[in-house]
Point group: D3
Chain length 135, copies 6
C-alpha cells in the first residue's frame, strides 16, 4: 500500500529574476517588474510530498517529524530571510524562478531521503502562482 505523506513549510525571501549576461533592456522585456535591481520578495509556501510503502510496524511511510526536520535543515535554514540571488549558493548562476527553486529544493530534500521513497515538491510563490516538480 503506497501512500503519499505531505508536509507544509514556508520561508520568506527576496529575489530578482534576470540574467547577468543579458542587457537591462532584454531582462526587462522578459522578466518585467520581477527584474527590479533592488529585489522584491515572497512568502514561499512549500509542500514536500513523500511516497512509499506503509511500514507495517509503525503505520508510517515516513515519520512526519523526520520530514519536518529535513525541510527545516535543508530548506528553511538555507533560504528563510535570505536574498536568494545573493545569499544562496545554488542561485549564484541560476535564475531563481519558481521552477528553478522547486528543482533545487527537490534535489536537496531527495538527497536526505531513503532511496525507496519518491518525492514531489510543490512551491507556492504567491497564493495564486505555484509550481510542482517530481524529479
Amino acid at each position: 500500500m503506497r501512500v503519499t505523506v505531505s508536509r507544509k513549510a514556508h520561508f520568506n525571501s527576496a529575489h530578482r529574476l534576470y540574467r547577468k549576461d543579458w542587457s537591462m533592456e532584454q531582462n526587462n522585456t522578459i522578466f518585467g517588474k520581477c527584474n527590479n535591481p533592488n529585489y522584491h520578495g515572497h512568502n514561499y509556501e512549500l509542500i514536500a510530498s513523500v511516497t512509499g510503502e506503509i511500514d507495517q510496524e509503525t503505520g508510517f511511510v515516513i515519520d512526519v517529524k523526520i520530514l519536518k526536520d529535513i525541510i527545516k535543515k535543508e530548506i528553511e535554514d538555507a533560504f528563510d530571510h535570505k536574498n536568494l540571488n545573493l545569499d544562496v549558493p545554488e542561485f549564484k548562476d541560476l535564475n531563481p524562478t519558481a521552477e528553478n527553486i522547486a528543482v533545487v529544493i527537490h534535489q536537496k530534500i531527495k538527497a536526505k531521503l531513503a532511496s525507496n521513497l519518491d518525492l514531489e515538491v510543490t512551491l507556492y510563490e504567491t497564493p495564486r502562482n505555484f509550481v510542482t516538480y517530481s524529479g
Copy 2:
C-alpha cells in the same frame, strides 16, 4: 526537467442544471435544487496547470504573465458576471455541470498554448466541490 506551473483565477456566474428535452419533474429528480428555473450562482475558482520542460534560458516553463493573460481573455472575459446557460455559447446545448465547464475551459486554454505543453484544469464550484480534467 518537466515542471508544472499553476495559476489561479476566478469568475462569478449564474447557472442552472437541466436538460431542455426533459420534463421539469425529471430534471428535479436528477438535478434537485440546481434546477431552479430562476438560476443560482457560484464564485468559480480556477487553477490552470501547464506542464513542460524548463526553458534553460529564462528558467520558465511558461511565463505566468502569458498564462494569466490567456485565462483572462479566454475564460474570465467570457464567463465572469455571466449566466452560463444564456450568455455563453458553449453551454447553449451543454448542461453547465462543473465537469462540462472544466472540459470547455480545458479546450479553450489548450488551443492557445504551444503544442508541447500539457494542461490540467481544476475548477472549484464551491470550496467543497471541485473537478479536475487533463484532456
Copy 3:
C-alpha cells in the same frame, strides 16, 4: 465574561444589481457588469457572531448547534440555490448588494436570538469582497 461565538455557513445564489426605476444606461453606469439582465452569482460565505455572557453552568454563550440551526432555517433554506431578486421576498424591492443582504441576514437571525445576545454578521460575496454589519 462576555465572549463572542462565531459560526460559518454558506449559500449559493444568483443575483443582479439594479434599480427598476432607473434606465438600463443609468444602471450600467452605477452597477456595471453586476447589472447583467441574465444574472450572475456567488458562493456567499457567512459568519454569524453572537456576543454574550458565558453561562456558568454550561460554559456556552450559545450552543453552536442552536446557532447553526437558526442559520440553516432562516438563511440557508431561504437563500441557497435561489435567485435573490426573484425568489427571496426581502429583495423584491431592495437591491441585493452585499450591504443590503447583510442587513437582511442580521434582521432575520437577530429575531431568533435571546434579547440579551448581540449579533454581528460578516458576509463574503467573494473571497476578496466582504461586508460586516452589527445592527
Copy 4:
C-alpha cells in the same frame, strides 16, 4: 472524457499512536507526544476524489450529492466525535496513523462506488500534514 470529481468533508476525533505490544518506552521513542495515554485529537479534513467518464446524459461523473451521502454515512457517522482507538472497530488492532486512516477510508468509500469509478483519498490530519492514497 475522464474527469475527477472531489468532495470535501470533515470529522473531529481523538486518537493515540502506539502499539499495544510495545513498551511505553518504545512507543515514546517512535511516536513521541502522539503516544499520550490520555489521547489528543484533530479536525480531520477529507477530500474524496472520484474519477470516471462523464455521463453524456447528465453531465455528471457522479452526482456530488450521492458522494456526499456516502461520505456522511461511511465516514462522518462512524468517525466524527469519536475516539478512533476505542470507538472505531477498524482501529481496534490498527494504529490510527494518518496513513492507516486514509487506507481505511478508501476501503469504506470504494466499496460503495460503482466499480468503474476510481477513488483517491486525501486526509488532512492538520492544515500542515496530510496523506494521499489511491488504492
Copy 5:
C-alpha cells in the same frame, strides 16, 4: 498610534464536554456527541492579538518573536497533544468549551504581557466554529 499585532498558533488536543455533577442523560441532552466518554479532539487554531502604541525606536508594538515565545511556552507546551480534561490543570473542574478555553488562554498570555498592552484571543475549535475574548 495604536496598532494591533496578531500572531497565529495552533495545538491539537482531545476533550470532552460534560459536568461531573450531572447525569449522563443530562450531559447528553446539553452536550450531545461532545459528551463522548472516550473523548474526541480538535486542531485548535489560535490568534493572539496585542494592541498598544508603536515604539518609535523599533517600529514594533511588540516583537512578534516575543509574542510567539509566550504563546509557545504558555499555551502550546501546556495544551498541545494533551487531553484538556485530564492533562491540563485549568480544566480539572472547568468544562473545556471553546469559550472557557479562550478565557483561560487570555489569562495565561495576558499575565506575561506588559500591563499597557491589551489582548484579544480568537480560538478556532474548527474552521467553522470560533470564539473571541477580549478580557
Copy 6:
C-alpha cells in the same frame, strides 16, 4: 445603517528591518534575521475596510470597484515588486515594520476617501503574522 465594506489586495516586496543610526550588532539584537543586509521579502496581503452609511439609492457604502482602484493606484502600484527600503519614499527614514507599513497604507488610502468614511487596514506580513490599524 452603518456597514463595513472590505476589499482584499496584495503586493510582493523586499524589505529589511533596521535603523541606520544603530550599529549592526544593535540591529541584530533587536531585529535578528530581519536585519539581513541583502533583504528578504513577503507576499503582503492587505484588507482595507471602509465603514459608512448605506447609500439608500445604490445600496452601497462605497462601490467596491472604486475602493479597488484606490488600492491599486495608491498601494499596489507604489509597493508591488519593490524594495520598500530603497524604492518607496515613505520608508526612506521609517523602518518598514508591519506596524509602520499599515500606518502608511492607512494614510494613503484615507486621503482618497470621502471624509465621512472610516477606514481600518489589516496587513498580513505572512499568513501567521498580521497587524491592524484604524487611524
